[in-house]
């Protein structure tokens, strides 16, 4: 049985939410942010970005703030911020568990 949406964010979804933490951004700015932040480790396909933005909007994790021609800008909602922090906590626990286990080796 595969993971369902938001039972746990995938790495890509986590970075998309992260992109909106400090600023409102459009689709291409999100791609640039992720590329820069992960030093080209993570690339975001246009289909994936478009799907995630649509789903996040549907789930009210982000909301549209402006439409200028073909460019749409979004910002994170309180619900999106809460989900981001929840995921961050989960990842922190993972890292702590991993490091403590490694220290015992």
């Amino acid at each position: 049985m595969g993971r369902r949406a938001f039972e746990g964010l995938t790495e890509t979804m986590f970075y998309v939410l992260m992109a909106f933490l400090r600023a409102e951004r459009c689709g291409t700015e999100v791609v640039e942010f992720i590329r820069h932040k992960t030093r080209d480790r993570l690339t975001l396909g246009p289909g994936t970005l478009y799907t995630i933005l649509a789903k996040f909007q549907e789930e009210q994790l982000i909301e549209e703030t402006a439409v200028e021609g073909r460019k749409r800008t979004y910002r994170i909602t309180e619900k999106g911020r809460a989900l981001y922090h929840e995921e961050l906590e989960r990842l922190r626990s993972c890292v702590i568990d991993g490091e403590s286990e490694e220290a015992m080796v």
Binding site: G2, T10, V31, L42, G45, P46, G47, T51
Partner: protein, 385 residues
């Protein structure tokens, strides 16, 4: 230019993408044309194709999506099938269209639902066709001779059933493969994996199958158009039931009954209609009288049949009239008879390709019925013409 001749499941995205890429290497490129997707010949080159499910209106993606995709090297080509769009990239190393399998799997959920609904609709249709066939066969085997005359299947009907059967089996198999392909892909993506090859075993249809399938579908289409045209020419004078309802009662049975019983009688009429291969018009007018609050009695019923040919009218007449019935001369009828039936009396008359039957709830009123018949016939002719 030619039609895309892809023989696998149209929803097996990895197989379709590989096929389109192989076609491009041979110099055939998928393009949208006036009558849908077509393969256009050009210089052979490497092109990447990706199929993407889309849960929205058919046609080009919206401006934002188009801009985003084009910026990253992907161009919309056309809709491959319902809810599945084709994108292509000609740049050497484009960013993959989808880089997160879990997010990609979200797009397949509506596709899965739509495929299941399509299969359910087909099963329902097949059940209705089979039910119709069983019902007709049951009528032919067990019905009265009169029903057998009216409901006998024409050779065209048998052709339809014989054509529908293989087409439905083929469609069922192909719809089922679509569902399996979509499910397998969704499960893979939800597990965080991208497919590495075709999802279904590629079946090579025998060489004779495509032309036979095309011939069957063409015949079916011709049959449907033919029946439609035939029905709209031979039934040009088909009279809708509303017209009969407005015309009813065709004669003043209320006055007749009131006079006979010596008190005012109120009746109401009901009109029923039908159609069969042999009788383009079957109308039954029933006159009811209220006996108690919830009890109604059929005072008189009038059945009018307009048949395909005078020969069929003759067969129906012979079936309706018992051998010992009294033949009468009735104005306007080629042949007529009146006879008692239990506590009722019946008149049957035939003229041209038409048959009229009156069934009256008054024992012994044979003459009265004979007198009523020309008026009923005139009314039927007037309403039915």
């Amino acid at each position: 230019m030619r039609k895309p001749k892809y023989s696998g499941s149209w929803y097996d995205s990895p197989a379709v993408e590989a096929w389109l890429e192989a076609q491009a290497l041979e110099g055939w490129f998928l393009e949208v044309y006036v009558l849908g997707a077509r393969m256009i010949q050009g210089e052979p080159r490497r092109v990447r194709y990706r199929l993407e499910p889309w849960n929205g209106p058919v046609g080009e993606p919206d401006e934002q999506q188009k801009a985003l995709y084009e910026e990253m090297g992907w161009t919309y080509v056309c809709d491959w099938v319902s809810r599945l769009r084709v994108f292509r990239s000609t740049v050497p190393h484009p960013v993959e269209l989808h880089t997160d399998p879990v997010a990609e799997s979200w797009n397949y959920r509506p596709l899965n639902r739509a495929a299941a609904l399509r299969l359910a609709a087909l099963v329902l249709m097949a059940a209705l066709v089979l039910f119709g066939l069983v019902l007709t066969i049951q009528k032919l085997l067990f019905a009265s001779p009169r029903q057998q005359i009216l409901y006998q299947l024409t050779p065209f009907d048998w052709v339809l059933y014989l054509l529908l059967l293989p087409v439905m089996v083929e469609l069922f198999y192909s719809f089922w493969r679509d569902i399996v392909a979509i499910r397998r892909l969704t499960e893979l993506l939800q597990s965080g994996l991208e497919p590495t090859g075709p999802l279904l075993r590629q079946r090579k249809p025998p060489r004779w199958l495509p032309p036979v399938r095309t011939a069957l579908l063409t015949l079916l289409l011709v049959w449907i158009i033919g029946i439609y045209a035939m029905d709209h020419t031979s039934q040009r004078d088909y009279v809708p039931l509303e017209k009969w309802e407005k015309a009813a009662p065709v004669f003043d049975l209320e006055a007749l009954e009131s006079e006979r019983l010596g008190e005012p009688v109120s009746l109401f009429t009901e009109v029923r209609g039908g159609w069969s291969p042999q009788a383009p018009q079957q109308v039954q007018l029933v006159y009811y009288r209220q006996i108690k609050k919830t009890q109604w009695r059929n005072e008189l019923s009038q059945e009018y049949y307009r048949l395909r040919t005078p020969q069929v009218a003759q067969v129906l007449y012979d079936d309706l009239v018992p051998e010992d019935a009294e033949a009468v001369e009735a104005k306007g009828f080629t042949q007529a008879a009146v006879f008692p039936s239990r506590d009722r009396v019946i008149f049957v008359g035939r003229w041209e390709n038409r048959v009229l039957l009156l069934n009256y709830n008054q024992e012994g009123e044979l003459d009265l019925l004979e007198d009523l018949a020309p008026a009923a016939q005139a009314a039927c002719e007037e309403v039915g013409s």
